[in-house]
């Protein structure tokens, strides 16, 4: 598996504003794999993603992208990653196309109208709203455009911070199918969520994060899904402690 390993955290320790937010977590994600990071508010999920992007230098341990220490070549690491932030991150004064065109241009990606239409169809963004500015969008509609952007980046690795937040049930289902398809086509997905059921549906492996520590890992048996019940139990019992 060593060669296909895309993401790796090794005894990762992060301190933010003097507070230890991640205390030595270790895990790795291989290509073609969906890894779900599950945890309560403030557990350190978003922090984990930010440290993979090189925004937060580790105070201890190390982070590797495709086997290379992130901070030794931040730019290369970032080019290999599509990142979906946890909150609104696109421009309000632009419509969906303009937003996608701008960010894709900056990522030095060609603007392929057909791919864009197809992707927006895939995330179920209504076609009549695509030429409207994002200031007139609902939360879920914005999220759909942001997801579309992450997919259009066509990178090896996707870091998704609560991707389904704000989405309606049918959009969530469709999104899970989409993530599976991406993984099956060889992409590596690290996804942060609160949603136990959704995580179990889509993830190959699942890490339970609590107060900056990785307190449990679940792996889907070959050809099956992770058992929701077990995760749920672990999640709530650990929380109750």
């Amino acid at each position: 598996m060593g060669n296909s390993e895309k993401l790796r955290a090794d005894q990762l320790q992060i301190i933010r504003s003097g507070k230890e937010v991640l205390s030595g977590i270790s895990f790795c994600v291989d290509s073609g794999e969906v890894y779900a990071l599950l945890g309560g508010n403030g557990a350190g999920k978003s922090t984990t993603l930010l440290s993979f992007l090189g925004f937060l230098p580790p105070s201890g341990g190390s982070i590797y992208i495709k086997g290379v220490e992130v901070r030794s070549n931040i730019k290369a690491a970032r080019r290999a990653i599509a990142y979906l932030p946890e909150s609104a991150s696109l421009y309000e004064h632009l419509d969906a196309y303009e937003n996608l065109r701008y960010f894709l241009q900056l990522a030095e990606m060609p603007f392929d109208k057909h791919r864009i239409e197809a992707t927006l169809d895939r995330v179920l963004l209504a076609s009549d709203s695509r030429t409207q500015r994002l200031q007139n969008y609902s939360k879920g509609m914005r999220q759909k455009v942001a997801i579309a952007l992450a997919i259009l980046r066509d990178t090896e690795i996707l870091l998704l911070d609560e991707p389904t937040s704000g989405l309606d049930p049918s959009a969530i289902d469709e999104f899970h199918n989409l993530v599976r398809d991406l993984a099956d086509s060889g992409k590596t997905v690290l996804m942060v969520t609160h949603d136990v059921y959704g995580a179990c549906q889509v993830a190959d492996r699942l890490g339970l994060l609590r107060a900056g520590k990785l307190v449990g890992e679940f792996t889907a048996p070959a050809g099956q899904r992770i058992e929701t019940e077990a995760v749920h139990r672990a999640f709530s019992s650990r929380h109750a402690k």
Binding site: L53, F55, P85, A88, S89, Y91, H93, F103, R153
Partner: protein
Amino acid sequence: MNTALIIASEEWRYWLRSSLAISVVALFTIILIAVSLLTSLRISEEDTERSHHQSEAEQSFLSQPDRHPHRMVHYGHYILRTSPPLALFDPGLDSVTGQSMFLEGHRQNSATFSSLGASADLGGLSWLTPAMIYQVFAPLLIVLLGHSAIVREREAKSLAPLLAQGVSGFQIVAGKTAALLLFVLFLLIPLLVSAALSLPKGEDILTVVSLLIVYFLYLSVWVILTLSVTTMLQKRPAIIAVLAALWLTLTLVLPSIAVNVASRLAPVSGKIETELAMLTEVRNVSDGHNVNESDLEQLRSSLFEEYGVNRVEDLDVNIRGIVSQRAEEKLTESMNIFADRRMEGEVRQAKVVMKHGWASPMLAIAFASRALSATDLEHYHHFLRQAETLRYDFVQGLNEVHSEQLSYADDINRNLSEASYNRTRIDAENWGLLDEFRFETTTSTKRLKSAGLPIMMLITWMIGLFAILVWASTRLKP
């Protein structure tokens, strides 16, 4: 580079879609155009009047009847200075120094405000000039537009995905800088127009181009300053507070401190004080009519030798004219010492103010702009010297006429009878010795040279801030 340009054009699209940005720029443009129009209207009206009065004064001197030449020395002459072409943009010191002067024998009068200037005064708004708008208000506009360039993205959380895509902080800041610099070029269009309009009025292309470059430099300093602050600080209120404080300090507080410091460090003695000192000293030298006994003796013997005579009555020239000439010469010499001293004092004071340009780019641009527009202290002194030359020439011309065309005998007997008095009137044609007065500025190279130090200051500001901006941009955090 390409990335920076994409970011720059996106910044422009944001501005064009933001009603605040558009209305602020529109307001600025309207004010600028209104002030430019009013200023050029005021100055050209004043200039028309001044040239009119100038030719009237010349006419009136020339049309004096036959007279004793010394009466013409006291009749005197009035000169008015018209504005250099770029004064329409930057009237500089012209609005606080006098533009007209009465020239007569034995005295150096100071420049005064011609009463006609007041006719076109726009209710006390004449301090608000196009140059002032560029120096004080354009920076405010840059701050308004630029302060949020980075923090806006941080607030909208778009900074994280940008950086996460591999766009560097330097590229983002470079893009914002390019956008604002292009905006500065747009801001300079009205200046370009008014500077270009000065070309047919005789302004040099070198000056016009330098003026544009200097203002571009100045406004670029503000662009880089604004972006440095918005890049270094995380929160919008802090950014706004710091930029507002900087604007107030650099454009309003420091310039007035500089003036205060200068009047302490390099005081120019009050006008009345100097005038009294001068009168006492100068009167010891000569009153402009007579010279002291020993000088007279010397003058007389050299003339006797030259003409081979030994009585004043036998000289071919009228010794009274010669004496007047010598008296005016000596008097002027000592008046010039005072005038020079005064001007040197003013220059020293101006230099102290100018040094503060190292601390306030607004002072640097003010000096550079006035120097290039020919409305600085140097040009005011230039005017005083030009006026003095004209005064001295016509007085001495009249004294020469006095010595050559009026016999000594007639001259001393002029009070015997009306007939003898009339014999001392010389032909009015001689009044034609008066030269026309047309204020002339120094050459464009000279002006550029005197703008040299302030330009150096602006370049230093630019380089220093640029280094800070680059440093800050590589540390940009979402």
